[in-house]
Amino acid sequence: MYRKINFVILFLSFFLIIPATAPDAGKVRVKHLTSITGNKETGRFNLLGGVFFDENKKRLYFTDTTNSRILAFDADFKYVSEFTAGGALSSPTSIVKNSKGKFFVAEPAKGKILAIDIGEKSVKPIDFSAVSGANPVYAGNMAVDSEDRLYIVDKANQRILLFDSDLKFEREIPVEGSRRLMDVKVDRAGRIYALNTIDGSICVYNSKGNLLLRFGTRGTDKDEFNFPTSLAIDRKGLIYVTDQHKNKVLVFNNNGRFLFAFSQLGWREGRLHRPSFIYINNSGQIFIVDRANTRISVFE
């Protein structure tokens, strides 16, 4: 009889306990790949802004804000070139590129988003005249979707501005009930993710701008934000959030359930010090602007 009971317990253990640990076993393992730092070739980096990875050209671009330039690296993270748009760049922060090869660079200090067409050698500010609002637009981070629509964080009006592929103002998505809208990203399905720093919330909207999900609070628990700064979505739909005060990246599933966090405060490679921006490319490489360490930390 006891042998039978033992067998049943063993059988149940196998089917109940082992699967319970499965998510851990199958957990997304994040490891540090490399760090991009200033050197003799690139010169010293200064205050770093945003990152964008061009999937067509396999190029990594990021802004070196207070050096007034954009830096380009290849897929092996070898330096390619720097770009100043003929001196048109002043303090570039966020950067994105559409499928036609046009760059969009935020210049918040000038209250502008510059549309840079390298082929045509043109640098033109996006026309905000059709955008109304209580305050003049203060452009923050940006995102581009698969149809080349441009999404711009307007910090001064707590909303996301949406421009079509011809750069005509389409509509706005107010991010209501939150404070300090900081970042926006769009996933493959066209869902729009907005990150609010002061109340530590993430709002997920469908492509029509209807709120689908809202989660996150500020606090000290492992699943709470201390000072969230940026977010990114990977191919599996997992949401990665950089926290400037925790010096970590917190990862949530698409229902907003906390899964795990990685990295910690530090100066050595693989550690973070005031991470300010995150971007994930189609290959699953995670690019983090490790601001106080003045480098781009790459994980995968």
Partner: protein, 417 residues
């Protein structure tokens, strides 16, 4: 005689052992409560005779009354002072869990939040209710000793009488300043707000503390010390719609243009890489549009305004392990180093970080480790600055260093030693 099945034997044995163990544990526990405590207490007062005097007080803590010293103290060892079993806050809350939600509100009294129960309560006995260490306002004024605040020409009656709990809650509250009710409701408990006394504006339901100091003021009607010019001149229509209009409390223009129309230079402050730009009339996030006791019409003390959002700094400031903090941080003078509106320098510094430090620490220049653009942190390839080694917001190490300078600091970079 047929043998009993083996399984039943085991079951019987299990229940028998369980019953015996249960009986023994109950007996020993009862014995400990009934007699051993008094014996234990006698042992305690052999060395702690003053405790006996505390026992004579009228109001005694329940475990103390029952001679249960060991319910809070470990007679042998503890890592806490007075051999208490746990940190004071945790120890108290293990019994005093509070009524549902009463301990779980948005705002907490700092000693309560930090588990410093003994700042207000006596652990053994007291002549005051709730085992308070002092009576009524004397207890509050023990910490809130800002004489200036409570010695004004005109004083609010409850403040003058020391009836602090007339408006404030002692542990937690859903409202700022631990007031019992929302700012819109607290004053109307005693006062009737009329339009006539507010230049015909319908201010019922407004936050009275936007103009009045609830403790006292040298100005009549308890109006706060510094007034916004239009407010002082009773020119409400500089910012608001006229009193008789459909939306009298509405603003005359949109967003911060209400402010920048008269303060145009502020616009430039916000045209920076890092700013405190926000939604709507975001100036009022930090400034009062009517009256304030602070300079620049600040809504509250600088430290309070800043740490309302910068919670990490607040946490560091409160952390008892962080013995070393920059004096300016302690005094809450954030804007000596940081620009409150915007800056092109990281963390909204006024000047580059090294210059900001050297401005005061002039002697340090002669003996410091090399810093600046020509020195590179080998760990990150970044520039070495003052904050590479110091964390001014709080550190457990001397000189607010990030690591212990006798053991860990230098070898972070100088590996060969």
């Amino acid at each position: 005689m047929p043998k009993m099945p083996k399984v039943k034997n085991y079951t019987f044995l299990f229940y028998l052992i369980f019953f015996v163990v249960f009986l023994l544990s109950m007996t020993s526990a009862y014995g400990a409560n009934a007699t051993d405590t008094k014996v234990g207490f006698k042992k305690c007062i052999e060395c702690h005779p003053k405790i006996q005097q505390e026992m004579s007080q009228k109001r005694r803590h329940e475990p103390f009354k029952k001679y249960q010293c060991s319910s809070c103290h470990n007679p042998h060892t503890s890592k806490h002072e007075y051999l208490v079993r746990d940190e004071i806050g945790t120890l108290c809350k293990s019994c005093h869990k509070g009524k549902k939600r009463s301990f779980d509100k948005k705002y907490s009294h700092p000693p309560f939040e930090e588990g410093e129960c003994l700042k207000c309560h006596s652990p053994h006995s007291s002549k005051n209710p709730k085992l308070l260490t002092a009576r009524g306002e004397q207890l509050c004024f023990g910490c809130h000793a800002d004489k200036e605040m409570f010695s004004k020409k005109n004083e609010h009656d409850p403040a003058r009488k020391g009836n602090c709990l007339g408006c404030h809650s002692h542990h937690t509250s859903d409202y700022e300043e631990l007031v019992e009710k929302s700012p819109e409701r607290i004053c109307v408990t005693c006062h009737t707000v009329t339009e006539k006394s507010h230049l015909n504006y319908p201010v019922q339901g407004a936050d009275c503390m936007s103009c009045h100091n609830p403790h006292g003021s040298n100005r009549s009607k308890l109006i706060k010390k510094n007034s916004h010019k239009p407010f002082a001149g009773k020119k409400c229509t500089k910012c608001h719609n006229p009193a008789g209009s459909a939306d009298p409390l509405g603003m005359k223009s949109k967003g911060i243009s209400v402010c920048t129309t008269c303060h145009p230079s502020v616009k430039e402050d916000f045209r920076k890489i890092n700013t405190h730009v926000g939604e709507g009339v975001f100036c009022t996030n930090c400034h009062s549009p009517h009256a304030s006791d602070g300079a620049h019409l600040k809504k509250a003390k600088e430290k309070k305004i800043c740490t309302a959002c910068h919670q990490d700094t607040k946490k560091r400031l409160k952390d008892k392990n962080n013995k070393y903090k920059h004096p300016l941080v302690m005094e809450g003078k954030c804007t000596v180093c940081h620009r409150p509106h915007g800056s092109d320098i990281e963390l909204l510094f006024r000047t580059d970080e090294i210059s900001a430090c050297v401005d005061c620490h002039k002697k340090h220049v002669s003996f410091t480790h090399p810093v600046g653009k020509s020195t590179i942190d080998p760990r990150s390839n970044g520039e070495i600055t003052c904050s590479t080694c110091h964390n001014l917001m709080g550190s457990p190490n001397d000189f607010a260093l990030r690591f212990d300078h006798k053991k860990q600091l230098c070898i972070q970079c100088h590996k060969g030693y």
